[in-house]
């Protein structure tokens, strides 16, 4: 944020941001009321923001306007389905919640099963052997080969239906090495992510709040 064009309102919000940052950081020492205040404030603000956006972006333009202003009566059907979610608060008619739940689950399963099969299973199996540009450079081929060997080893490690002989035991042990490399890569990326978030907060404190850095 350019400090030359900063308004009083922005200054106040930056100070509030800095205060809340320190409230959250205080947990590093130990749990305390300031940390809990900031945590609860965050949850409350998120929920309030979500309700507001849901109303203005969905409920008002997609239901209230068509139904009550344009008289499109078919919108009563989704309204009734939506209201059925609240039936769970009334024990006598709580079974009504099954109607919208069934609709959502049915649509979700129908849409996601073929899509997930195609994107995450068929394409991945295909990609384990045939990668784009596999013969473009020699290193592409080597990496594709290593990936393929890794896949075979790891799948062998997770094959429990038959007792392992000497060969499958050796292959499965190779699978453990590939798994460890994978876990290491994930852990490395996780460290990177956490440090990035810390840097983000320090950038805010040093730049926007204290104006020490550019």
């Amino acid at each position: 944020m350019n400090s030359a064009h900063i308004t009083l309102a922005q200054i106040i919000w930056i100070w509030i941001g800095a205060f809340l940052t320190f409230c959250i950081f205080s947990f590093l020492y130990k749990d305390n009321p300031l940390y809990r205040f900031a945590e609860h404030l965050f949850v409350g603000v998120s929920v309030g923001y979500s309700i507001s956006i849901s109303y203005h972006n969905v409920l008002y333009p997609d239901l209230i306007v068509p139904l009550f202003k344009h008289g499109q009566l078919l919108n009563i059907i989704p309204l009734l389905f939506g209201l059925c979610y609240f039936a769970r608060f009334i024990p006598q008619v709580s079974w009504l919640i099954r109607l919208p739940m069934g609709l959502v689950l049915g649509f979700g399963a129908g849409a996601s099963i073929p899509a997930t099969l195609q994107a995450s299973i068929i394409k991945q199996i295909q990609g384990a052997v045939l990668t784009p540009n596999i013969f473009k450079h020699w290193d592409f081929f080597v990496w594709a080969l290593i990936t393929f060997i890794g896949l075979i080893c790891v799948v062998t490690y997770f094959y429990f239906s038959k007792e392992r002989n000497k060969v499958t035991k050796l292959v499965a042990e190779g699978g453990v090495i590939f798994l460890m490399v994978g876990f290491g890569a994930s852990f490395g990326y996780t460290v990177m992510a956490r440090i990035s978030l810390l840097i983000g907060r320090f950038q805010f404190l040093l730049r926007d709040w204290l104006h020490i850095i550019k």
Partner: protein, 284 residues
């Protein structure tokens, strides 16, 4: 032996303070470590660069403020690249709490390039129900989003006259911090409609995205703050912007932070090894 015992029992508060100092110093006094672009970042950059002027780039904000340090610099760098190339931009999102970030980035970057709302870029915002939105846009964007984020009907927005569905989107980028995110777009928009997709992801989820890169389902990948800095580097190198680059500024701190963690892991393990060795000896 006592030294190794101390190594294994360092108070974590001391480690927090050391980490804070190690991160703050390079932010105040940068060392200027050189950042280069990986082939994964280069692929995303090339795909955006290949969009003809006047054609749209679609960006989905699938993150919230919790991932802002990693993904927001990607968003601003990509917007700068697109606006500098006179590429139209359509921004939407699957994460409700990320909409403010999208609005903020568009407002800031569009001013830098004198871009006009409705003519050069449009902000569709967020709609509930992920699947109907993603699938619906494959048939007709105006049916999934009858109006933009501010209630203006898409029919009346000049830029949207030539955009009907995914067939009119040469390239799409999902900036994703989890689910719903790039995997949703791959499963529903790419598998079914053939949308060309690139992704910017948080470092935590970067390892999970590599298989999609391997199969070609993702054109390119920006992983974490490093990925953002790589994109910033490419945009600056091509002379598309001279604006401040927050992710590039953070790379020295990131590198030193990693070095410290590496040292601590090695020291911690040495301490653990020696204390275990000595306790075994004592037991014998």
């Amino acid at each position: 032996m006592k030294f190794f015992e101390i190594l294994g029992k360092i108070d974590r508060k001391i480690i927090f303070i050391i980490l804070a100092v190690v991160v703050i110093i390079p932010l105040i006094k940068p060392f200027g470590l050189i950042s280069k672009a990986s082939s994964r970042a280069q692929s995303v950059f090339d795909a955006v660069d290949a969009i003809p002027a006047g054609k749209p780039l679609m960006i989905s904000i699938d993150f919230d403020p919790a991932s802002m340090p990693e993904l927001y610099p990607m968003l601003t760098a990509i917007l700068r690249h697109a606006f500098a190339k006179d590429v139209k931009v359509v921004v939407l999102g699957l994460w409700l709490t990320g909409m403010g970030l999208g609005e903020q980035a568009l407002a800031t970057v569009s001013q830098e390039y004198n871009k006009e709302y409705g003519k050069d870029y449009v902000f569709l915002g967020w709609k509930s129900g992920i699947l109907p939105v993603v699938l619906g846009m494959g048939e007709d964007i105006k049916k999934a989003y009858p109006a933009d984020n501010y209630g203006t009907p898409l029919e009346s927005i000049p830029m949207m006259q030539s955009i009907k569905n995914y067939r009119d989107i040469p390239f799409f980028i999902s900036l994703s911090a989890g689910s719903a995110g790039y995997e949703t777009w791959i499963a529903y928009a790419q598998s079914r409609y053939g949308l060309k997709i690139g992704a910017g992801v948080t470092a935590v989820s970067a390892a999970d995205a590599y298989p999609y890169l391997q199969t070609g389902q993702l054109t390119g990948l920006l992983g974490g703050m490093k990925g953002a800095s790589e994109y910033e580097f490419l945009v600056k190198q091509k002379g598309y912007t001279n604006q401040f680059s927050p992710a590039s500024q953070a790379m020295d701190a990131q590198s030193l932070g990693h070095l410290l963690i590496l040292i601590l892991i090695v020291l911690g393990n040495i301490g653990y090894f020696f204390t275990r060795h000595s306790s075994r000896k004592e037991q014998q």
